[in-house]
């Protein structure tokens, strides 16, 4: 039984080990600086280059836009659920959000591919040169991310002791003022936790970005540019890569980067939770 529990840690370290052992071999062929700072990702060229900066920019841009859309929306829904909605509508809405979280990412990717991209190209007021871009990916990613924000933020609001709400109302403050001046500040750490966990989820998403972020290895200059985030680079190229080739190692190294990022996020969230409990 102890072993079963130990297994989770073994797995975590195992992942690190396997990824790193294959990943670091890339640094035999290319320098650290080139890998992280170059935007030239041309793994299939004769004279292959493996700079992941453009890929990083892809991840950042998609994540950034998704957060910009999903966090405010999630915030509003969370407040509505926590303070304004009646029991029946509350349960119904919550249920739909849970359902939302369960939609397979490949389905969202397919929808974005077939419908959203066409809509963006044909019916959107601006001239766009491809429907597979940061915007498309972010829209679909918001569907995945919002349930996280809504649920966790609602929990954070409900965790504030009810006597704080009563104290404020008893002084003649209205509900809106009470929410923004008393409840939200006290729910701050829970909300931060929600943001961290939601962001982690978005950064790690693969299929949606693989299918609809565009696949172009470039640093986007607008939200309608195509990009290739880190996760989609791995998923897209792994199929064609030769075992043991430099490209193979490069992809594993990207895996290491992703693992480091997500572990960092998780640990930060854990640390914040612990210091709050003090």
């Amino acid at each position: 039984m102890t072993f079963a529990a130990l297994l989770t840690s073994i797995i975590v370290f195992g992942i690190f080990y396997f990824l790193v052992s294959d990943g670091v071999r890339i640094f035999g062929k290319i320098s650290l600086k080139d890998f992280f700072l170059s935007t030239r990702w041309y793994p299939t060229y004769e004279d292959a280059e493996f700079g992941i900066l453009a890929l990083l920019a892809g991840t950042l841009s998609v994540t950034g836009l998704t957060l910009a859309m999903a966090i405010p929306m999630g915030f509003i829904c969370a407040i509505f659920l926590a303070e304004f909605s009646g029991k029946k509508s509350h349960d119904a809405i919550k249920y739909i959000f849970e359902l939302m979280a369960g939609i397979p990412s490949v389905v969202l990717g397919s929808f974005g591919l077939k419908y959203v991209s066409r809509w963006l190209m044909e019916h959107f007021p601006l001239q766009i040169w491809t429907g597979l871009n940061v915007m498309n990916a972010s829209l679909m990613l918001s569907v995945l991310a919002m349930p996280y924000f809504v649920t966790l933020m609602e929990d954070a609001l409900r965790a504030v002791p009810i006597d704080q709400k009563e104290a404020s109302l008893a002084l003649g403050a209205n509900m809106t003022g009470t929410i923004f001046r008393i409840l939200l500040p006290q729910a701050r750490s829970g909300i931060l936790n929600a943001i961290i966990l939601g962001t982690n989820r978005v950064i790690g998403e693969t299929m949606v970005v693989l299918m609809i972020a565009g696949g172009a290895t470039m640093i986007p200059s607008s939200i309608f540019d195509p990009v290739r985030p880190l996760t989609s680079a791995i998923a897209g190229e792994m199929g064609e890569v030769e075992l043991g080739s430099t490209h193979y190692f490069a992809l594993f190294m990207i895996g290491v980067v992703l693992m480091v990022i997500s572990t960092a996020f998780t640990l930060i969230a854990m640390k914040l939770k612990r210091s709050k409990e003090k």
């Binding site: 009646g86 006597d163 704080q164 009563e166 404020s168 109302l169 008893a170 002084l171 003649g172």
Partner: protein, 250 residues
């Protein structure tokens, strides 16, 4: 002849199916201390919370009847305005996790006071009225949660007073405090009653007898007896009241 501040007529309160208050009719006098007593579950907290419409927060709450504050019907009034006139202090001290000063100025600010000088004056006045000024006047920026239980409760009183209500509702304000802090607050209540109407719910009969001018005795949702404290204690009209006074009920 004393001023009536609350005129309550045939008040009935329901939580869903439960009939919590039955046909309560009475007149509460201004600038006096009225204690509300009775065994657990008799409806005294419900009564108190109906006076400032805090019960509105409970989904299954319904009422019939009327409560008039200085002639105006409160049950149909906007609760926000009502609560400016009728303040409340809770059983467990619940200061905001802010500075002492910010706790006291929260109420006035919410009601539109912006002038910093005025806010300072309000802070000083309220803390003095709550007998807390001398202890904290040099530490107004200190976090309220660092105060002792008794100080926190006096801060909550100061906070309630900062909006200059007519009435102060106290819901078992000393039951979470030690005897010395309790004593300080009881003295405070006597002082405050010169300017404010105090209605205090307490399960501590001795406390009620010590500080109140009037006594309301509730039993299973009914207002059994309501009269001057002296009169009730020497000559209660209802047998249930005398039983309670003799300590038969909890």
């Amino acid at each position: 002849m004393e001023d009536t501040i609350f005129a309550i007529d045939k008040l009935n309160v329901f939580y869903g199916e439960k009939h919590a208050l039955k046909d309560v009719t009475c007149k509460i006098s201004r600038r006096k201390v009225t204690a509300v007593v009775g065994p657990s579950g008799c409806g005294k907290s419900t009564f108190l919370r109906t006076l400032n419409r805090m019960n509105d927060l409970i989904a299954s709450y319904r009422h019939t009847g009327s409560i008039k504050l200085l002639g105006k019907e409160t049950l149909t009034l906007d609760p926000v305005t009502l609560r400016k006139q009728v303040g409340m202090v809770f059983q467990k001290p619940n200061p905001f996790p802010k500075s002492i000063q910010d706790n006291v100025t929260y109420g006035p600010r919410v009601h539109g006071v912006k002038n910093r000088q005025r806010l300072k004056e309000i802070t000083e006045r309220s803390l003095k009225q709550a007998a807390l000024w001398d202890e904290v006047k040099d530490e107004l920026k200190k976090n309220a949660l660092n105060l002792s239980g008794g100080q926190q409760q006096r801060l909550c009183i100061a906070r309630a007073l900062s909006v200059e209500p007519e009435v102060l509702l106290l819901d078992e304000p000393t039951s979470a405090l030690d005897p010395i802090a309790t004593q300080k607050i009881e003295k405070l209540i006597e002082e405050l009653s010169e300017r404010y109407t105090i209605i205090i719910v307490t399960h501590n009969l001795q406390q009620a007898l010590r500080i109140s001018d009037y006594l309301m005795f509730f039993y299973v949702g009914e207002l059994v007896e309501f009269d001057a404290t002296e009169k009730i204690t020497t000559n209660p009209s209802d047998p249930r009241t005398s039983d309670y006074l003799r300590g038969i009920f909890s």
